[in-house]
């Protein structure tokens, strides 16, 4: 078996205690995934597993054996930026840049969750399509902390991409 990371197969770690976060950063050299707390409190280590966001610090690498992991390095295509990456730059949805990869990965999966009709605490009508509103974004992104205070720009960036995607 193997873990598919950004399209390439990587052998699972020999030490079963290894977290997906440590496999990415220390094993695969993919340091775009960040570490802020190692206990699931900050969201900096968010990556996508089969398109769903997970906290890689709370995920054992062996749990994702046979699955596909996308990190910030693999989010764009063909060397180009993912629309969210572009929008984060344009809307200044970052300052120091440390929580940014986690914010972007979380945002990518979060928009899919809304599109798939997964409700949040704030969703008023569970039977209707869920609008991509500021409040929905803020509620669903609250697991990703930012200390520089780029929150407004992050929400602006996500909203912009959501509007581009739904004509």
């Amino acid at each position: 078996m193997a873990i598919r990371i950004n399209g390439s197969d990587v052998a699972p770690p020999t030490d079963p205690r290894t977290s997906l976060l440590d496999l990415l950063r220390d094993g695969a050299g993919l340091t775009g995934t960040k570490v802020g707390c190692n206990q699931g409190a900050c969201g900096a280590c968010t990556v996508l597993v089969d398109g769903t966001r997970v906290l890689s610090c709370l995920t054992l690498a062996v749990q994702v054996d046979g699955r596909s992991v996308t990190t910030i390095e693999g989010l764009g295509s063909g060397g180009g930026l993912h629309p969210l990456q572009r929008a984060f730059i344009d809307c200044d949805g970052l300052q120091c840049g440390y929580c940014t990869p986690g914010q972007i990965c979380a945002a990518a999966a979060m928009l899919e969750e809304i599109a798939a009709g997964v409700p949040s605490y704030l969703t008023a009508d569970l039977s209707a399509p869920i609008p991509v509103s500021r409040d929905e974004i803020r509620e669903r992104m609250s697991g990703n902390l930012c200390r520089c205070g780029a929150h407004n720009g992050i929400v602006d960036a996500i909203l912009r991409v959501a509007r581009e995607q739904t004509p």
């Binding site: 030490d15 205690r17 290894t18 440590d22 950063r25 220390d26 050299g29 993919l30 340091t31 775009g32 995934t33 960040k34 570490v35 802020g36 707390c37 190692n38 206990q39 699931g40 409190a41 900050c42 900096a44 990190t71 910030i72 390095e73 764009g76 930026l81 990456q85 572009r86 984060f88 730059i89 344009d90 200044d92 970052l94 300052q95 120091c96 840049g97 440390y98 929580c99 940014t100 990869p101 972007i104 500021r134 974004i137 803020r138 509620e139 992104m141 609250s142 697991g143 990703n144 902390l145 930012c146 200390r147 520089c148 205070g149 780029a150 929150h151 407004n152 720009g153 992050i154 929400v155």
Partner: protein, 770 residues
């Protein structure tokens, strides 16, 4: 912090008072002020792409051969001695390379403490690091383990057995007040300032308020953990650090380990948030020593808990503010005194009364701060040290007085605007706080505020509005130096050991250098984060940008002189003096006669030069001691308070700033908002909880220390007067810290307006409103 220092600063101010204005920096305001070019444009960050793609390289991310990983053991008692230290099991654990304790640590002196007399000193603690068996605070590093992997190091560290002989520890704020220390000075200001008889004026005042306000201990909580990767290569030491002070870190490590300055090279191209916390602490010393002994490269990343345990934060405070006013609301007395914690081995006073000394005119005043000596991790500076919490006390008191007088709080402030610095009498080169209030009030819709508290309601929610003033001083550091290279192809590079931790350092410095050089921003690059580059000051005191602006200005002046020397007799600019030319459109051009110009390309080609390099240091920042240069803000807040739960939800927050020229509205708006959001945390959720029985932090995690999350942050509006300060480079005054100031009071005042409840104890948690 001495009386001698007070005398020296006072003398210097006096002497500078005799110096004609025209001899001081800014006597001829910067020629670039008001010019519409790259400065003032909404440029996107030059490092944005690196940051959104994950390629920006942080300190813990540098790959190295034979790297080993460190884990720390922190003391679990506040005061005592290590009675038994058993490292046998740790030594025998798989993968362990080294166990470092006070027994095998090299003998090292502590670093020089941060202070105003030595700007290259960056020590936060004068306590020895792993030098003896003494424990002075809970969280102190007592051992370190190196292993082949982080997991092995973490496991082995858990096997280090430490037994302590406990001693009595001072851990209670209240008890320490009895023998509080009174320092002679607070930073460069005299501590105890008095004018007239404030107590008597207070007793006789037509209107008066007198209250005590408290603020908790706080932690910076940058999302990037403190990290250092160290590599001894023969006689050279490479340190990849997450630091706000690149040049001084290299110099300090060299001094500590007996190396020459050029043998230590510190890299820190990106810092994942600092806010005052990414300074020089024990872990860097431990990592360097461990690497030396193990003869291996070492990576040391503090755990999140380790950051709380071994890197200090903002001191808690207890502040008294008393204001007396006559029947018209003019202040007859202003008193701001109080306590903060500063252990004898710490270096950073929490200067909470300094902002109060500049904001209002009052006939009688008293300002005084006292320091409590507790056995806790040494406190340090955190975003707007002093003003962040000082404005909470002062601006809450102003609101209380306005309420008592039945006067609009903005009007009360307006009536007490000083015309000169209330203590020194220095002129304000630029101060438009009243305009910031007027503009902000209009945009915010302040007139919709109900003067009577508790008057607005929406279901279970009571709604209120509040405002408050923020302030932060201008700083330009002496010694800021840049190297400037102009190439024949019309490109230029500015290089300095400066720091980037989210402010947009390179982005705005490129904008400035481009205008100064007459080039486009595309033609200019900026190198930073490397101690081999000419020294920049540390990123602190909101002073890095202005300091670098001054250095770049000096470098361009020198470059012009060199270009004219190279020009020779055949150049169209031959014979022109440096003050008769300007750099424009890639050329040296006469100011009076613009037809006399020569392109850099042709000038350098004729001189047979591929490039021209100059290195220059900014002129002495004497303007700081001669003029009252401060930034201001008017913060407006509208919020809801639930009758049922006491929950506070901030719906609107607006900051109207008066900070001189804004260099880049895009990055400036982000920095203002970032400070204001940290202010929301200060107001409502943040608190480092020390167990008063034993001095141990109880909430040393991001799950238990509540920084604002997305749902806590409303859409924030920022605006600014943009009026340049004629005494500073480009008219700019620095904006990194002012955003947090005033916010806590604006929130507290809005809570009062909503509920009629005056909360004088931060944070304003639900329990205080039930």
């Amino acid at each position: 912090m001495s009386r001698l220092q007070n005398v020296m600063i006072a003398s210097l101010r006096t002497v500078l008072g005799w110096v004609p204005d025209r001899w001081l920096p800014g006597s001829r305001p910067d020629a670039l002020i008001g010019r519409v070019a790259a400065v003032g444009r909404h440029d996107v960050r030059v490092d944005g792409r690196a940051k959104v793609t994950g390629t920006a390289r942080f300190a813990a991310e540098v790959a190295m051969d034979r790297l080993c990983y460190a884990a720390l053991v922190h003391s679990t008692v506040a005061r005592g001695r290590i009675a038994r230290l058993d490292t046998t099991a740790a030594q025998a654990a798989p993968g362990v390379v080294l166990v470092l304790t006070h027994r095998n640590m090299p003998r090292l002196a502590p670093p020089d403490l941060i202070g105003v007399s030595n700007l290259s000193a960056i020590g936060n603690s004068s306590l020895p690091v792993l030098q003896d068996a003494d424990v002075r605070y809970d969280g102190q590093i007592v051992a370190a383990v190196l292993a082949e992997t982080q997991l092995q190091a973490d496991h082995a560290a858990s096997l280090v057995r430490v037994d302590y002989a406990r001693a009595d520890a001072r851990t209670r704020f209240e008890q320490a007040k009895a023998d509080a220390r009174t320092p002679a000075s607070i930073l460069i200001e005299k501590n105890h300032e008095t004018k007239g008889d404030a107590d008597r004026a207070l007793a006789q005042a037509a209107h008066a308020v007198d209250a005590v306000y408290t603020t908790p201990a706080l932690n910076h909580n940058a999302i990037e953990l403190h990290a250092v990767t160290v590599d001894w290569q023969d006689d050279a030491l490479i340190v990849h650090d997450a630091t706000q002070m690149v040049a001084a870190t290299a110099a300090t490590i060299a001094r500590l380990f007996g190396l020459k300055k050029e043998q230590v090279r510190v890299f820190s191209p990106f810092v994942g948030g600092g806010f005052g916390g990414k300074g020089f602490w024990d872990h860097q010393i431990v990592a360097v020593a461990a690497s030396k002994i193990a003869r291996r490269p070492v990576r040391l990343v503090l755990t999140r808990e380790g950051v709380y345990r071994s890197v200090g934060g903002r001191s808690p405070s207890e502040q008294r503010v008393a204001i007396g006013a006559d029947a018209d609301g003019r202040f007859t007395a202003l008193v701001h005194t109080g306590y903060s914690v500063m252990p004898a081995y710490a270096a950073c006073p929490e200067q909470f009364t300094l902002g109060s000394r500049v904001l209002y005119r009052a006939a009688n005043v008293e300002f005084l701060q006292r320091h409590l000596d507790l056995d806790v991790v040494p406190n340090t500076f955190m975003r707007a040290p002093g003003e962040a919490i000082g404005t909470f006390a002062l601006e809450s008191a102003i609101d209380e007085l306005a309420q008592a007088m039945g006067l609009d709080p903005i009007e009360l402030r307006r009536r007490n605007e000083p015309e000169r610095h209330p203590i020194h009498g220095h002129p304000f080169p630029q101060r438009a706080l009243t305009k910031a209030y007027a503009d902000g009030a209009q945009r915010f819709g302040w007139t919709r505020r109900a003067a009577e508290p508790g008057a607005r309601r929406d279901g279970e929610w009571r709604i209120g509005m509040g405002c408050a003033t923020g302030t932060y001083p201008y700083t330009r550091m002496p010694g800021a130096t840049v190297r400037l290279t102009l190439r024949r192809d019309g490109t230029a590079t500015v290089a300095s050991s400066a720091q980037e931790m989210g402010m947009g350092t390179a982005t705005v410095q490129i904008q400035h250098a481009a205008d100064r050089l007459g080039l486009t921003t595309e033609a200019v690059s900026f190198e930073l984060g490397d101690s081999m580059l000419p020294p920049a000051p540390f990123a602190g005191g909101s002073g890095q940008t202005a300091s670098l602006l001054g250095a770049v200005t000096a470098a361009v002046k020198e470059l012009i002189a060199e270009l004219l020397k190279l020009a020779g007799n055949d150049s169209p600019v031959a014979g022109l003096r440096a003050d008769e030319v300007q750099l424009i459109d890639g050329s040296v051009a006469g100011i009076a006669d613009a037809s006399r110009r020569e392109r850099f390309q042709s000038l350098l080609a004729r001189a047979g030069r591929d490039d021209l390099t100059v290195t220059a240091t900014g002129n002495l920042p004497l303007e700081m001691l001669r003029f009252a240069m401060h930034s201001y803000s008017a913060i407006f807040c509208e919020l809801r308070v639930s009758d049922v739960t006491g929950e506070v939800r901030v719906d609107r927050l607006l900051g109207s700033f008066d900070c001189g020229t804004i260099l880049n509205p895009r990055t400036a708006a982000s920095q203002f908002k970032g400070g204001m959001i940290m202010g929301l945390g200060l107001a409502l959720t943040e608190e480092t909880l020390f167990d008063a029985r034993n001095g141990r932090i109880m909430n040393a995690t991001l799950a238990d220390y509540h920084v604002p999350s997305h749902l806590d942050v409303p859409e924030i509006e920022v605006m600014w007067t943009g009026i340049p300060d004629p005494r500073s480079p480009l008219g700019a005054r620095g904006i990194g810290e002012i955003g947090i100031t005033g916010v806590a009071a604006a929130v507290a005042n809005a809570v009062f307006n909503a509920t009629g409840r005056r909360v004088r104890e931060l944070p304003i948690t639900l329990d205080k409103l039930l």
